[in-house]
């Protein structure tokens, strides 16, 4: 049976139409990734309206390919402009630029490419093995387990997001509030609709995401329009020179980066950017040559470069199995999966096995395709980075308008996109992370539904949430995750007051 599923899946992927879609989205992803200010999440949000009229497999394939390419291509402007192409490359931008200044730009770009591919393939392998196994377990889940999973996901989103956790909680609550709008709640009662028919259906997520990830980014780009991009000179020859040596020299770093990246990706709310920061920090911490970090040393680029690409695939594990997104990209993807009839959940492996294996194959293909296309992108880097922003930003904005309009064919989508674009910009500028808000919007309905139905089943007894074995373990784990930062904060204030007394 498996063999027939596999051959059907292969036939679906190696169809000329699908291959053209993959090639087109790969080039789109490389461009978006390479231009600073355009991110992988933005690429996904802009692809959604385009995927509307495609069959399920090419639709998902375009997103998988574009994001994989974009995360790699984010390394390119790090070397030339000292600006990350996507937030996922920010962790080692200074390092990569320092390498270019030392005349090792070729090595930095090559390492970015090769270890992106390795990390991406590692994450894909974990996705292929872990997702079906997890789905077996998840088949037995009831509303109690889902309730705890959602709470666990939401809390990890808050605590993994950088900066002030309090601001993360506010962001999350705002997201949940947005999800409460409309008729779609267990009671079927219109909430926050103000008698408006557009609001009764709930706020559509795609225009909101285009606003928060694309319009807010464009606002930032427009605000920085006066800052010129200064290109560092680097001659790029054979980017593979020395790669085999690096692979042999840093096997442990590669593995550690890929593994940590996959895990961070799979945790809800934290994606490739946080994975790269954590892997870079870990690489520095355990390195034998710590003093070289920051002066143009390739070790951190290898570990973090593998990490951010593996996070991409890791994020799909909870997205496919539970419908809980692992990062901002899969938060958008889940919406697309529902539209395409590939409803996420443990049963996806029974109902849509062929499409699912086709997606897995696309993951492998996209990562392999990254080698030739990545080389091409590195060669054309200078042309891509010379794209005039005063023309590029307006065209992308028009693209956003059409995308936001296309979801419901109404101008209300454009208003929604603008409102959330401004909100997203203001939030990020003031240190409120956007990821928890997005997760709140996506998971709000699921949280409420599972809580209410659990409460009805349990007849109001809170203890019932811990009675089933898996629910109980998840519940205790969640409470621990929530308690640790509180205890740490308490401990820190104690320490601070002690020290304050001494000085």
């Amino acid at each position: 049976m498996t063999a027939s599923i596999l051959s059907q899946a292969l036939a679906q992927v190696f169809d000329p139409y699908v291959l053209w879609v993959i090639l087109g989205s790969a080039m789109f992803g490389l461009f978006v990734g390479a231009v600073p200010g355009l991110t992988a999440t933005m690429a996904t949000a802009l692809l959604v309206p385009v995927t509307f009229f495609m069959p399920p497999v090419p639709a998902i394939a375009s997103i998988v390919t574009a994001t994989a390419m974009a995360i790699f291509a984010g390394d390119i402007p790090s070397c030339f402009l000292r600006m990350p192409g996507t937030p996922a490359s920010a962790a080692y931008t200074d390092e990569a630029y320092a390498m270019t200044k030392k005349g090792q730009g070729e090595l930095a770009l090559g390492a970015g490419l090769v270890f992106s591919v390795i990390g991406g393939l590692f994450g894909t392998a974990v996705l292929i093995i872990a997702a079906p196994a997890l789905a077996e377990v998840a088949l037995k889940f009831s509303s109690f387990e889902y309730f705890w999973l959602v709470i666990l996901g939401l809390s990890s989103a808050v605590f993994l997001s950088t900066g002030n956790p309090l601001k993360g909680v506010v962001s999350l609550l705002l997201g949940l509030l947005v999800s409460a709008v409309g008729l779609d709640n267990p009671a079927g009662y219109p909430r926050f609709t103000f008698g408006n028919a557009e609001l009764a259906g709930g706020l559509t997520l795609i225009p909101i995401m285009i606003g928060m990830f694309a319009v807010s980014e464009i606002l930032r780009g427009v605000a920085a329009i006066d800052k010129p991009w200064e290109m560092a000179q680097a001659s790029i020859g054979n980017v593979f020179k020395g790669m085999w040596g690096l692979t042999k020299k840093y096997p442990w770093q590669t593995l550690r980066g890929s593994a940590l990246g996959t895990a961070i990706g799979a945790l809800p709310g934290a994606g490739a950017d946080i994975a790269a920061w954590m892997s870079y920090a870990m690489s520095k911490r355990f390195s034998k040559e710590q003093e070289k970090f920051g002066t143009g040393h390739v070790e951190g680029i290898i570990e973090a470069g593998a990490s951010n690409n593996s996070a991409l695939a890791g994020a799909w594990i909870p997205a496919l199995v539970f419908g809980i997104p692992g990062d901002s990209i899969t938060a958008i993807v889940i919406g697309v999966l529902y539209i395409k009839g590939l409803n996420p959940g443990p049963t996806i492996f029974m109902n849509n096995a062929v499409a699912l294996y086709a997606i897995f194959i696309v993951f492998i293909l996209a990562n392999l395709l990254m080698i030739p296309l990545g080389i091409a992108a590195i060669k054309c880097a200078k042309q891509m980075l010379r794209a005039p922003r005063e023309l590029l930003l307006p065209v992308i904005l028009l693209f956003c308008i059409v995308g936001a309009f296309a979801i419901n064919n109404s101008a209300f989508g454009v208003v929604l996109m603008l409102a959330f674009g401004v909100v997203g910009y203001l939030m990020e500028e003031n240190g409120f992370p956007v990821a928890p808000a997005i997760l709140g919007m996506v998971l709000g309905a699921m949280l409420e539904e599972n809580f209410i139905s659990s409460m009805i089943k349990a007849d109001g007894r809170i203890f019932a949430f811990f009675e089933r074995p898996i629910a109980g373990s998840l519940g205790v784990l969640t409470l621990l995750v929530l308690a640790v930062p509180l205890l740490r904060a308490l401990f820190r204030t104690r320490m601070a007051s002690h020290q304050g007394g001494n000085s």
Binding site: F52, V169, V222, L391, V395, L398, F405, V415, I456
Partner: protein, 127 residues
Amino acid sequence: MPGQKFGPAWFPGLIAVGLIVCGALLAVQTVRYRAPLVVLPAWIRSPRAVAGVVSVIAGLLFYALAADTLGFYLTAFLIQVVWMRVLGASWRVTLPVALVATVVIHLSFYKLLRIPLPWGIFEGFAF
């Protein structure tokens, strides 16, 4: 009635309580660290950047209000021209790029993806 205890107001109510608590805590933090109430971003001193940000917001609002009457072609072309000019492109580049972008995006979404972009006053020329 066990269902009634957790009606539609329950979930938003919980969120409201959370927001009030977090808001109060943030206010306390702000006061304690003597953070200023409002900090203006650095770009406010660049006229081009301010004009750009204002034009993006105004242009999107204009599209939402006017597209149904003026139609996609006119509205999209107009806001493209305004944005490109404000961001510093010359007329010689702006006009052809705005025209090509509008036509290409219209054709690919209207024809290829069958999204009913509005024709407005050009209804008679619809194809």
